[in-house]
Subunit: 425 residues, 4 copies
């Protein structure tokens, strides 16, 4: 850690960030009815009130219980109910049963949040330099952790609403102009030894480290995301029934789940519609395609005579690109059509998480950190695929070009899309 | 139908019953938080708000849409969302997904109920003699139908609350004195041809008809229900692991579900407790045992050197017994210890539904009625067992001694208990 | 037991029966290849060699080990491998895994049978009057038990062969003339108290007792079985998609299993064919329909404005009918078209087991016999339906008009068919 | 391909290899009874006769049907029954149902093999230089394909026999001396850019290509395999219940499957035994541990303060090591204790496949070959882990140091074991 940090401003900065992150969780809840907070529409989804309580539980467990000797929880059962996978912190309530809990009520969950906020304020008021320094990392994990759950709150409530034939609208859409999209330009990168992984002096997740060397062949990288129009071409070319395009596990999933389009898509009067957080609407051909699994992304790429990028290619291609784009800060809650033509590579951040061709594995030299927080990333390093770049549900200040998100091959309910790459022939 | 009915008082009587039944549904909801109305804790359970809406849907579909030519629903989707098994009335929302609907909200569901009540009031105000006569049966079905859902609202919210480690209390218990229970007296009935089934001139369900003759051997009938104490003796005598006591399917279920006590029972500090609508409390040895499956009832009976009654034996034994007991009208929401010693046969009605040894089958000469309402009973006549007598969650004026309730062999979440019978040796 | 039995001839008779039954098991195996003996095509099916060994195990366990003090088994593991549901005789090999055993080989299983036969011969040679009297019942159970497994050997090997696209032929068909079948004649029976159940002085299964009185309404009984032609009319009238014809559980099964015809049926070039033990052949419209579940029989009956008989009706209708018909003794291994017109009621025995409308339940006064053999029937008295009359795979001397067979509602792989009944209007 | 190949000797060489490979399949069947060939003990396992027929089907489909214009199959159904995953060659019989086929019999399958061998002999007799050149690659694929199925025949029959409480012995064990094993020596490799993948002029599988550069950190590589003794230490140190040692998916599997030791292990009289192709025997502490999943290997490595090697590390470590070891050519059918101390790195080939830490993914620049044979590897490149080095069931001339085997994370029925690696601190 940097010795020269100005601690007055550090505390101030941390407290401001705390307040900003915490209040955004509340903003996200504004459009919801009490009933909406309760539902778990599949095991991967958590009820909104669970997310709210769990994010508070994190600060209680890793900050308040650490710093206040006589800290008393508002309800001792909450530690059991709102822990998730931190085995070392004790027993956990069985995940797929989160939707069976009507109590604590939504109001009680907000009371819990307020209780935590009050104690955190007291913490900020009373902490000295040493304590602030010591807690800096865990606070930053807490902010990032809550931002991750903010993203899940949006993807999960979308899944909940999508089950409902009444098609509830989360927030009405802003008007976004949609221009026709030009053909992909292929940007060329040279072969060579590259440096991969986080190497700065700021917050990072353990899975981005250690910074290490990797050898890359030369490759071509698409200058933009794949659009709905392009994906519909794949559908109409019988993409979902041509086994030669698919990984074996992927085609088995297609048959088992009867997939014939991205999640939330539905043909009405012979036109593709999709359910969005702005309600059910016709598919905009110029928007990036979204809610496809790794299997679909991979099959689409083969159909398009291309492939997905490996994660180090993506990281190299993103170097020096400004982190800007359609993040949740824009309040669109949906990918939007490409509307700038100045950058060489567009839509690198925001809109949709981009499936890579890389399994989620430890970097060379990776060690699982000690303690409960160490459970956060390392133990999920099997059976998942890396995604990069953030989405329209991600906070802009949450993302880095070294950031590694990960989901199983078949997952579709996150805002997940496609960027193509190619070998140089 | 009786020609001499006084139609003024008939209309009055029907309207009063309508109001009484409808307002009791609201009373049952008083202790609930908004969040409680939403949860479906297993496929057999429906969310409270679904019950509320479905019972209203019945009056809308079978009364209002029939009698008002220009009747307009408050929301056309409700017909799809709140229909249950009436295939002939159109598509239905998939039952196990009822808990995925946050909308309509609880408030909207009550708005729907009020809307129906207003139109029903208009119906009662404007209907002439002929219309009242014509609608009498469907109205009575509607009342009884809503009463059935009132019972389910209680058993379902109990199941919902039981999932919650916070053990919510529905309503605090009234103080009930608990006296020691005497040994079973065996009441003898003679062999002979008996008349079984409904034969009066009042409301009945189609499955109680036709009235028909049956031949019964002489039998002995227990003068009271089986108690928790007796059932604990069975448990402590290794009842749950002695295969010779069990039906083959029953023992398979015991092993699969790891049953070792009634549903909701839990040992705490070496004492049996159970979750009730009055909260978690120690098991009262003198209360009737409750929340056992047919398999457990049948195995218990074999262990006790007895058997379950067949349903016609139960009906004969109950003839001339006044319909009185611990019904929902008493607001106990739980079985209570036997507290009267005057009758020859006690606890015949209320407290717990009594498992019989009879599969739910059509009576000789039974015909499924025509039309959607005809779907109500007949099509469930396979794979279920008859229960008799009503429970602490049943309305007193809902029950008859010919009333046939039915649930699958393994069901336990209703208030279900045990009455023994025996052959005369 | 009859005091006046001539024991010389009793022993002789038992030994002859033993030899006849045992050698018929071998006859049934003649058409099989070694590989055929090994396969378990679903959990309900057992490999042929298991049936062969299990039937021998019965004599070993309940006769040889009882009568010969120093009896030594050919292999001690066989007691574990070839026990089925007799819990009281010890651990059993998990039923659905019977098809995982390549050893003992078929040859070793026949060696085991021969070993048993040799010791049984020794038993017959050495047993005195007292011992023969004592063992008479268990021997008769053993004969009947082996006959039951002979029936299962045929139905099970049919199921095994049916999985095979090569459609193996068990035995070529004999030529059977097929005449057009006349309309059903409805035979009338009067209401009254009838005596039901076994009351003779010969072998019976415990579930046929006690003989007891029952009251029957008057009823009509079809003079013959339902034919393939009639069932095809039901199919072509969209019988499989009209929910109003079906029990709720039945229609759920239809949808889940995608049933659209009896088991083993298949449309080839727009004509219904079915797989039989004589190979794949076109459906003969005049044969009794076979391989339908209870659900299908019940729906068919409703479609035909009739119903299934309850089991006591069937028993009364069969009184005084000579036990004769298309049994396995005829070596047809398939139902055959009706070819006699003299009797009032035809096809009462043989051809197909006739589904009744009766759940398999204990008769009034039924007690489960003590000891391992007592496990045979009583513990299956839930969740199954009674069938009557025997089939083309049943031995003629195995059946009685009081004989109660039972299978679950959805079972189809036995030779199961339909006889209609009706209420007298 | 090399222009200067001497075609006379090429043909000769190919024919000799054909005969050698084909006759080894027969040798492997010698200890089997007819019944053993039929059984499929789990979906991953195929019956021995299926392997035999499928390997012949390969030569029929890709050689005989290609080269003989009027080639007629011995049975046209075999193409359907014995195709596996080659979608482009037509419909396939559903894999998990392979164990349901008693026909064709074992004898018929050997007739099929002989029929293919006769036609292949005719091919070798009549083929000219051009044809031999053209068919060379497909022949070599055929040899390697049959060798892969020879390995599966052994692992599958082991799994079949292991289900049987009689514990059949495939072949009696040879006596192998077992010496105590020294501590692991850690061999150091330098960081740098390495060349990975196949680059020779001989047979290879498509997944070994293209040869490409990779950057490796310096690493330490264990000089020998992990032993049973070491693994028992892990078990006794509660390795199977310490969640912090496990990947999240791995621990879920441990709990679901109740794993507490390698597959086939069983404690008898408090001593670990395991079922082997030599029968049930006590675990030799000095043998390499075998039949562990990736999850177990990974958890063991964490417990041992080490990790698994990534596949390129393994490949670099194996460069210049002579391909020799305990292959199936040794007829041990089981891993054997380390019995040489001369090499720096021991047991690199044979004994057990060594789990790597690498997901099975395409090499940079990999293209799926066209045509049916192209389906062979590429479509399995998701959800599996790479294993290296061959096992005691692998043919010595089948393996290369670039050879990439792959199985799902939870697989245990192959001969799979553990080699540790470490980062240089």
């Amino acid at each position: 850690m940097n010795d020269k940090i100005d601690l007055i401003s550090l505390k101030d900065e941390l407290q401001k960030k705390y307040e900003r992150v915490r209040s955004f969780s509340k903003e996200l809840c504004e459009p919801l009815e009490t009933e909406d907070f309760v539902i778990q529409s599949m095991p991967d989804v958590s009820p909104t009130k669970w997310h709210l309580a769990h994010a508070s539980w994190f600060f209680e467990t890793f900050v308040l219980k650490e710093v206040f000797e006589n800290y008393k929880s508002i309800n001792d059962n909450y530690n059991y109910l709102f822990n998730s996978y931190y085995v070392q912190v004790g027993e956990r309530f069985f995940r797929p049963n989160r939707g069976l809990l009507s109590r604590p009520t939504v109001k009680e969950v907000f009371d819990f949040r307020n209780y935590i906020d009050e104690h955190m304020q007291k913490f900020f008021e009373t902490a000295d330099e040493e304590l602030i320094s010591k807690m800096k990392v865990v606070l930053e994990i807490g902010f990032n952790h809550e931002q991750q759950h903010q993203e899940l709150m949006l993807t999960d409530i979308k899944h909940v609403f999508a089950q409902n034939p009444l098609y509830p609208v989360y927030r009405k859409a802003k008007v976004i102009s949609s221009n026709e999209i030009s053909k992909i330009n292929w940007i060329e990168f040279d072969e060579g030894v590259y440096s991969i992984g986080f190497d700065k002096d700021s917050f990072f997740f353990d899975n981005e480290k250690p910074n290490h060397k990797t050898y890359l062949n030369s490759f071509l990288f698409a200058d933009r995301l794949t659009t709905n129009k392009e994906y519909i071409d794949f559908i109409e070319d019988n993409g979902y029934s041509r086994t030669e395009l698919w990984l074996s596990d992927g085609f088995a999933k297609v048959e088992q789940e009867k997939w014939n389009a991205p999640l939330y898509w539905k043909k009405i009067d012979n036109k593709w519609h999709h359910f969005t957080l702005n309600g059910l609407k016709e598919v905009d051909p110029n928007e990036p395609v979204c809610h496809v699994s790794f299997y679909e992304a991979e099959a689409y790429a083969r159909w398009a005579n291309a492939r997905l990028a490996i994660e180090s290619e993506w990281e190299i291609a993103s170097t020096n690109i400004l982190i800007d784009g359609n993040f949740v800060d824009e309040r669109n809650y949906n990918p939007i059509p490409l509307n700038e033509n100045n950058s060489k590579i567009k839509q690198m951040f925001g809109d949709v998480w981009e499936w890579t061709r890389s399994d989620y594995a430890p970097y060379p030299g990776y060690k699982i950190p000690n303690g409960a927080i160490g459970e956060y990333n390392g133990k999920f390093m099997s059976g998942q695929i890396v995604l990069r770049g953030g989405s329209c549900a991600t906070s802009k200040d949450h993302i880095r070009n070294t950031y590694r998100n990960f989901f199983p091959h078949h997952s579709r309910w996150q805002f997940m899309g496609i960027r193509l790459a190619k070998d140089l022939e």
